[in-house]
Amino acid sequence: MNFDVPEDLRYLDTHEWVRVTDGTARIGISDFAQDELGDVVFVDLPEEGEQLAAGDDFGVVESIKAVSDIYTPVSGTVSAVNDAVEGEPELLNDDPYGDGWLVEVELADESELDALLSPDEYADQTA
């Protein structure tokens, strides 16, 4: 099966993506991750203002069959939380790179992005 791996994102080997716009990093889970999990039924996210360090688990995504920790690719302060996915967790399945995003973080150190996987590297990992 071929999974969508957008070219403009960076990835973690634990299947999170990050998109950086003007110093803000939006984070979500990949198409591969949502397919592996199956029907997502519950999402537990941090509060705005929480400090995250790159690699921390910052929440949980649950499908019918499994519980999965989610990890932040970058360090910083949580500046926005996607409340929509708490009420409609199926957004993670339907649109993992769009409406199914999870949190936004004010990026503390842009150089952390260099350590993340490129789309090609991530696509190789899930091929």
Binding site: G38, D39, V41, F42, V60, E62, S63, I64, K65, V67
Partner: protein
């Protein structure tokens, strides 16, 4: 160790099913999505490959006596073409497995008079147990582990009968609940039984291993994996061997597990005297439903407490119910705790509001 493969392994792989290890077998867990598969069975019909279920054939003059003395239910009361649900218990009444015992129809074209269907991975130990007690009691019976001679397809849902009627010469209207006949399906002789583990009307088909593919193909409808099988059985409060009870990790007797209806204390069987004692005193704990009021999903191992945080028990099985879109689970709780009691389920160290319920969770 290599995993055992069902006769439909190649078809599942080609169909893109996600697969998982279960009881030593590599089985499909999900074909499309658990939610889609679950809804198909509740609202129309779905088909399951359940070839991982054990098939132990028992024949010979003492086949019935031997089997009756090794399970909790009254096998002696079965007429040809009837089946019953039962537990296999040890001499202190602890459940080793649960099973369906069929007394095979007279025209069953293979060996054996009884078919014992243990859970995945329990086939060898079941056959060994039957042989060992056959010798010990000086009975005359032959025991064959035929698990890899037969495939098993479950067809479940309100439309199962209409679908099967078009593909089989069985007189389904005359087939009562838990009854089985030998009938043609896809041109092969199959054991067609009105049984299942989803709470919906439906059938289980036992067919020669090599014919499983043709039977699977003619009962064309939503293929369903173990994921949906688990959510469907949990909404019914049905037990999963090895998870809701386990002889070493969570030893339980049938009264604790809530399957009193499958224990015939007026018959002679291994564990009977111990269970008569439990029946007289009443079990200290019983398996109850737990329904989340807060958002969250109860999972095996999560603690159940009073609203003040005092321990009551532990969740053995749990999921997000696709029917209710609410977390449901099973837990052994003090027998005196009434259904409808407010409790807490600790999910990742956070107490979530929940209440105890009777099972099934769902009305069928």
């Amino acid at each position: 160790m290599a995993l055992r493969q069902p006769p439909l392994a190649a078809s599942h792989e080609a169909g893109g099913a996600k697969r998982t290890e279960f009881g030593g077998w590599e089985m499909p867990v999900e074909f499309d999505s658990i939610r889609v598969e679950h809804e198909a069975v509740r609202e129309s019909v779905g088909r399951f490959d359940v070839s991982h279920m054990g098939q132990v054939l028992v024949g010979g003059p003492d086949a019935g006596r031997l089997t009756d003395r090794l399970v909790t239910n009254d096998v002696g009361a079965l007429g040809a073409g009837e089946s019953c649900y039962a537990a296999v218990t040890d001499d202190v009444g602890v459940m080793l497995d649960d099973t369906i015992v069929y007394r095979l129809p007279a025209d069953w074209p293979h060996e054996g008079e009884y078919l014992v269907v243990p859970n995945a991975g329990h086939d060898a130990e079941t056959a060994d147990r039957w042989r060992r007690f056959c010798d010990e009691w000086g009975l005359e019976a032959t025991v064959t582990n035929a698990t890899e001679q037969f495939g098993m397809v479950a067809l479940q849902g309100p439309d199962a009968e209409d679908l099967l009627a078009g593909e089989s010469d069985a007189d389904l209207a005359a087939l009562g609940r838990s009854e089985a006949v030998v009938a043609g399906v896809a041109g092969v002789d199959a054991l067609v039984a009105r049984t299942g583990y989803t709470g919906e009307p439906g059938f289980e088909l036992v067919v020669p291993w090599d014919a499983t593919g043709s039977v699977w193909d003619v009962v064309a409808c939503q293929p369903c994996g173990l994921g949906a099988r688990d959510t469907l059985r949990l909404e019914m409060g049905f037990l999963l061997s090895g998870q809701d009870f386990h002889p070493e990790e969570n030893p339980r007797n049938p009264f604790e597990a809530g399957i009193d209806f499958a224990v015939a204390l007026d018959t002679e069987f291994v564990g009977r005297d111990a269970l008569a004692g439990v029946d007289a005193e009443g079990p200290a704990e019983r398996l109850r439903g737990v329904e989340l009021i807060d958002r969250g999903v109860p999972r095996a191992g999560y603690p159940v407490t009073t609203p003040d945080g005092d321990p009551l028990g532990t969740v053995t099985s749990g999921t997000m119910s696709p029917t209710f879109e609410r977390g449901i689970g099973l837990a052994y709780l003090p027998a005196g705790l009434e259904p409808g009691t407010n409790v807490r389920v600790e999910i990742r160290d956070e107490p979530k509001k929940a209440r105890t319920t009777t099972t099934p969770f769902i009305d069928t």
